[in-house]
Symmetry: C2
C-alpha cells in the first residue's frame, strides 16, 4: 500500500506531488517493475484529492515512460531495462560492422584509430606539448564572447533557436565579407557560406566534386586531415613536393601536362605542417597554371589572420579575377576552435552548390553561436583580439626560433623560420631507427611526427612543432628539452653539438 501524504502548505500542485512521490518510491525500490498502482479512484480517495488530479499524475508518469496504462486496469510500473556498463555490448552484435561499412570508410576508421584527436582540453603543464594546433586557452577572450552571446540571445533568442539558413546567418556572412577586405578580398555575403570549421569546408568542396576518376593535387607534406577525406571520396592524390618557396610549380606543371587534375589544394600561408609561406610571384604563377589548365584552386587560409611579421603578401583569392579560387577560412585558429565556425568564399554558383550539400547533410549551422560571433566582430572585439594575438605570438615565435638556435645543432636538424602562424618544421639529419616518441616522452615533451602529413612514405624524418598552446617560458623550456632528446640520440652516433 502507498504510504504518503500530500503537503497542503506548498505551492506545488498536488498532481506534481503525486508524480514526485511515486518516482521517489520507484527509485528506492519501494515500487518495482510489474507492481500495480492503485486505481485512479482508490488513490484519489486515499489522498483526498479529485480523481482528475490522480489521472493527470498517472498520465505524466506514462509520458515519462515510468508506468504502463491500459484502459480498465490499474497502472503498472514499467519493467525498465538496465543500463549496461560501457564495453558489455562489444560481442553482442549480430552484424559485422566492418562489412557494413564501405572499404573507404574502413580505411578512414583505421586512420582514426591510429591518430590522436586533439580533444583533451585539460592542461598538463608537466608535459610540454608541441603536438597540436590548439591556441592557448589562457588567451581566450571568453568574458567578452560571453557578453556577445548574452546580447544575441536576449535580442534574437527565439529566432536563433529556430531553423536557420543553410548558407549561414546573414549578419555573420556580412561581417566576414567586411573582414576579408582587410586581406584584399572583395566578396559579398552571397559569396560566403558558413561552415562548421575549415575541415567541414574541405569536406563540402570534395563532396561536391566527388565521382570516380577524380585527382586532387596536394602539397607534400600537406595538412594531414585532408588525406582521409580524399580516401573517403575515392579520389586519387597527386603529391607535389613543397620547397622552401612553396609547392614546386615546375613539378605541378609537368603533372598537369600528364593527365587532368580536378582540384589543386594549397595553403599559401604558414603551411601546415611546414610553416612555409609563398610569395607574390609564386601565387601569381600558381593562379596562371590553374587558369591555363582550367583547374579550380582550393586555398586553405586557416591562418590568414596570423600574419604577424609584416612580410606576408595578399591571398591568392585577392588576385582571382577569373573566380577560380575556392577560399576557406576559420575562426578556430585565432579565436575559439570550439565554436566550429569557418567559411568558404567563392563564386555564387559554387557557394549555392555547397549550400545545397550542406542543406541535405545537416540542414544549417546553429544560429546562437553564429549570432554571438557576428556581434563579437561588429562590436570590434575580434580586431582587438587579433591584434593581441599578433603581439603575443610574434614574441612566442621569436622565442621558439631563438631557443632552436641555442639548443638544437644544425648538424642534427634544419628548420623553417615562419613569418606567422604557429608551426615550425624540422627536417632531421639521417639516423638509424630511433623510437622518437619514447625519446620525447622521457623528456616530458610531445611533437607531431612528420609521417602523418604525407600520403606516401616520406624520404626522411620530420617533426612539426606547434607553439600554439605554450607561453614564452614553456616554449623555451620545451625546446631545451627537445635539444636534450636530440642530443641523446645524435651523440650516440658521434654527432655532438
Amino acid at each position: 500500500m502507498l504510504l504518503f501524504e500530500l503537503d497542503q502548505r506548498t505551492t506545488q500542485s498536488k498532481s506534481k506531488q503525486i508524480v514526485d512521490r511515486l518516482l521517489e518510491m520507484m527509485k528506492d525500490a519501494a515500487l518495482n517493475p510489474g507492481d500495480r498502482l492503485p486505481s485512479t479512484r482508490k488513490l484519489a480517495e486515499l489522498l483526498r484529492v479529485h480523481r482528475t488530479t490522480v489521472a493527470l499524475a498517472y498520465q505524466t508518469l506514462w509520458s515519462l515512460g515510468y508506468v504502463e496504462l491500459r484502459r480498465g486496469t490499474p497502472p503498472v510500473v514499467r519493467c525498465r531495462v538496465p543500463i549496461m556498463e560501457p564495453g558489455d555490448r562489444e560481442s553482442m552484435s549480430a552484424i559485422d560492422w566492418s562489412c557494413v561499412a564501405s572499404p573507404a570508410s574502413e580505411e578512414v576508421y583505421r586512420l582514426f584509430l591510429t591518430r590522436n584527436a586533439p580533444c583533451d582540453n585539460t592542461l598538463d603543464r608537466k608535459r610540454l606539448s608541441f603536438e597540436f594546433i590548439k591556441m592557448d586557452p589562457r588567451l581566450f577572450p571568453a568574458g567578452r564572447f560571453r557578453a556577445s552571446l548574452g546580447r544575441a540571445f536576449r535580442d534574437e533568442g527565439l529566432s536563433l533557436l529556430g531553423y536557420g539558413d543553410a548558407q549561414g546567418y546573414e549578419p555573420l556572412r556580412e561581417a566576414i565579407a567586411v573582414r576579408m577586405r582587410t586581406h584584399g578580398i572583395s566578396v559579398t555575403r552571397e559569396e560566403i557560406l558558413i561552415t562548421n570549421g575549415a575541415q567541414h569546408a574541405l569536406d563540402l568542396v570534395l563532396r561536391m566534386i566527388a565521382r570516380p576518376g577524380i585527382t586532387v593535387a596536394v602539397e607534400s607534406p600537406c595538412y594531414a586531415d585532408i588525406l582521409p577525406l580524399l580516401k573517403q571520396y575515392g579520389m586519387d592524390i597527386a603529391e607535389i613536393p613543397i620547397t622552401g618557396e612553396g609547392m614546386d610549380l615546375d613539378v605541378l606543371e609537368d603533372r598537369c601536362r600528364q593527365s587532368p587534375l580536378h582540384l589543386i589544394y594549397t595553403m599559401p600561408n604558414f603551411q601546415n605542417p611546414t610553416g612555409i609561406t609563398t610569395d607574390q610571384e609564386h601565387r601569381e604563377r600558381l593562379l596562371s597554371i590553374c587558369s591555363h589548365y582550367g583547374i579550380p584552386l582550393l586555398e586553405d587560409a586557416f591562418e590568414e589572420e596570423m600574419k604577424y611579421s609584416g612580410r606576408v603578401v595578399l591571398p591568392v583569392k585577392s588576385m582571382d579575377s577569373g573566380q577560380r579560387v575556392i577560399y576557406c577560412g576559420t575562426f578556430s585558429k585565432v579565436l575559439f576552435p570550439g565554436l566550429r565556425v569557418g567559411w568558404v568564399a567563392a563564386h555564387p554558383e559554387c557557394i549555392r552548390r555547397l549550400a545545397a550539400l550542406r542543406r541535405y547533410g545537416e540542414l544549417a549551422p546553429p544560429g546562437l553561436l553564429q549570432a554571438a560571433l557576428s556581434r563579437f566582430c561588429s562590436e570590434g572585439w575580434y580586431e582587438k583580439h587579433v591584434s593581441m594575438m599578433h603581439k603575443v605570438y610574434r614574441k612566442r615565435m621569436q622565442t621558439a626560433l631563438t631557443a632552436l638556435e641555442s639548443f638544437v645543432s644544425p648538424e642534427w636538424a634544419r628548420w623553417t623560420r615562419p613569418g606567422g602562424g604557429y608551426l615550425i618544421w624540422l627536417s632531421m639529419a639521417s639516423h638509424p631507427p630511433v623510437d622518437w616518441e619514447k625519446a620525447f616522452a622521457s623528456e616530458g615533451i610531445a611533437v607531431a611526427s612528420g609521417r602523418s602529413f604525407f600520403s606516401s612514405d616520406p624520404d626522411g624524418t620530420f617533426f612539426r612543432l606547434s607553439i600554439s598552446s605554450l607561453d614564452d617560458a614553456e616554449i623555451d623550456e620545451g625546446v631545451r628539452r627537445l635539444g636534450r632528446a636530440f642530443q641523446k640520440v645524435y651523440e650516440k652516433r658521434g654527432i655532438a653539438k
Copy 2:
C-alpha cells in the same frame, strides 16, 4: 598634412588614439588609397610622442590590412578593393561550376533549388502555414535554456571553447542514455554519437555504407530529405509502400528475396509524412526480417518524445537483442531545432565508425550548446518541457482532427488520425489537374505537397498537414480555410459536401 591632436586626459593609449584617428580619416576619405603617411619620426614629432608609439600604431594598422609597410619608406594607405553588390559577380567565373560538381551533386542542387527550406522564422500570422515541421516558438523555454547556457559557460567556458570530442560531449551522451531508458532502450554513453541533428545522423550512416551497388529500402512515401542524400551517395532506392499499419512487410520480404538490401530505413512513430505508427507485432516482424536477411535497420525516431496519446509501443531498438538497429533521435522536434543536436544510438562498433567519419568531416560538435543542453536535461527542465508539449499538442491534434471532421468532406479526402507528433496525411479523391498551390494561397494557407515524399511519381494527390507551428484557434481557422479551398475545387466537379 595630418591635422589631429591627441587627447591627454583619456585613459586610452596614445598608440590606440593614433590608430583610431587614422581609421576615421580613411573612412572620411581624408586619407585615400595610395596616400603616404608621415614617417614614424615625423609623426612622432608632430604629435609629441615617442617614435615607438607611432611605430606600434602603424604596425596595428598594417596587421588590420589598412596600410602597407616597406622598410625605409613611409607607410602607404592600402588600395582597398571595393565590396560588390550581390549579383555583380554572376557572369564572371572562368569555371563552369555545373561541370566541376559531380552529376550526383548537380541532382541534389536541382532539388535544393526547387524546394523551400524552412529557415524563415518570422511569423506571418495572416498566412496560416501547415507546411513545415517547426515547433511553435511561442512554446520555446528560451529563458530556462539561457540560464543553463549561462551556467555551462561560467563553469566550463574555457574548456568548451576548445576542441571537443568527435563523439560528442560526454555528459550529454550520458543524459541521452538516461533519457532513452524511458523509451525502453538500454544503451551506455559509448553507444551514443551526438550529431548535428537527425539529418546529420542519416548523412553519416549513409556515408558509412556508401559504395557502388548499394540498395536502401525506404517507406513510400517517406521523409523527403533522405532522398537527396541517397542520390548524393549513388544508392539505389527500393520503395516499399506504406499501409495504414506501416511499411508493407509482405512487399518488403518479397523484395529481400529478389536481391540484397543493404539498409532498411523506417520511421515507426508518426511517420513523416503520413503520421502512421506501427504496432508491436509490426515492429517485431520487421526486426525478424532484418535478422533473417542480415540487414541493419535505421530507425528514425524523430518524434519519439511526442507520444502524447498513450497508445504507442516501445521503439524497435528496445527489442533489438541482435544489435542490428541504428537508432537516431533529435532535440529539434521537441525543443529547439536551432541547436542542431541529434544523436545516433547503436552498437559501439558502429558508433566508432560513425565518429571517425564525423572526425574527418568536421571534427566535433560545438561544446557550449551540448553542455547547455546537458544541463537543461539534468536540471529536469527537459522532462518538464516534454510534459508541457504533450499537453499542448494532444489538444492541438484533437482540434485539427475535429476541424477536419467539420470542414472536410470524406468525399473529398481521407486522412490519418495520428496518436502523436505533428503530422496528418490527406489522400485526395481523384480530380482533374488543379493548381493546388494557388487554391491554398488564395485562402491564405500553405500545406506540403505530397509529391516530394516519393522517390518516383505517386499514384494520387496527397498533402501533409503539420500542426507544429499553429495554436488551437489558428489550426481551427486553417482547416476551415482548407475546407473552403477543397470545396471550391470539388464543388465545380459536383462533389459537394
